[in-house]
Amino acid sequence: MGPGNLSIQYSERLYNALLSFYPAHFRIRFAPEMMQLFRDCCHDALEKGQVAVVVAFWLRLSRDLCISVLRERGRELIRPVHADHPLMGLVDLLLIPSMVTANLVALGPILTLLIRGSAEMPLDQFAVTSGFFSVAIGTLALVASLVITKLRPTVRLWVKLSM
């Protein structure tokens, strides 16, 4: 096996590993084609035989990979789950705040401890303050989600124009 074939083989392995940064559904659908395209491009670069061509190819590829991974991840975030079904629209709307709230509710007691201190606070007062922070954070998350849902067409347009 020549050094050219060997370098293609290693490049393919590396690129194959890098493809794992794409969202799963995109990877499942397009990874084999992208690998084939990568192979063709590698052969092209090696045929030209200059180190500069291969380096330029990898630089271009790295830039393309970074931008497109971020773009596909971004699309994943704003993609509604079966948006044609009204119930799914509701799930779509509530999914983000519930997840955010679930994560942030834990911050309620932590915030209480940080702001008020726990040493001299009675347990019932601690529970009330902590509950207040949790509800406030949850409400903020819901409002943020509503705003994001309302802004979704704008976000879509922004993503489209940035591509």
Partner: protein
């Protein structure tokens, strides 16, 4: 989901426009598209695999292009490649964008500055 109108797709990004122009001449696989876009743009537009397949993914989703089952010559070609072609909607989108760009160019050419200056 409401069906998209042709105008909903406009303006197209340069990458998407180039892809549609390439497919207007017939079906093609990813590598052929990449080569053709680079050739047509004189090397100014070079699509990487991520950009190309990201665009293909969106165009398939929107019904602007579709996968073709036919192979131009199975003996000459790798069966792992997938071919894509324009749909009827894709043709309409391409025509609308071409029209839009032509109008823009016409408007720009009618300005004094552009009439006076010639490209270097």
């Amino acid at each position: 989901m409401a069906k998209k109108e042709t105008s909903d797709f406009l303006p197209l990004t340069p990458a998407v426009f180039h892809i549609l122009v390439t497919l207007a001449d017939g079906e093609a696989h990813g590598y052929a598209m990449m080569q053709e876009v680079a050739r047509r743009s004189g090397g100014a537009v070079r699509l990487g695999p991520g950009t190309l397949y990201g665009a293909i993914s969106r165009l398939l989703e929107d019904g602007v292009i579709e996968e073709s089952e036919e192979r131009p010559d199975p003996r000459m070609d790798d069966s792992r490649r997938r071919y894509y072609r324009l749909t009827k909607l894709g043709g309409q989108v391409l025509a609308a964008e071409t029209e839009r760009l032509a109008d823009l160019v016409k408007a720009a050419r009618s300005t004094k500055v552009v009439r006076k200056l010639k490209p270097a």
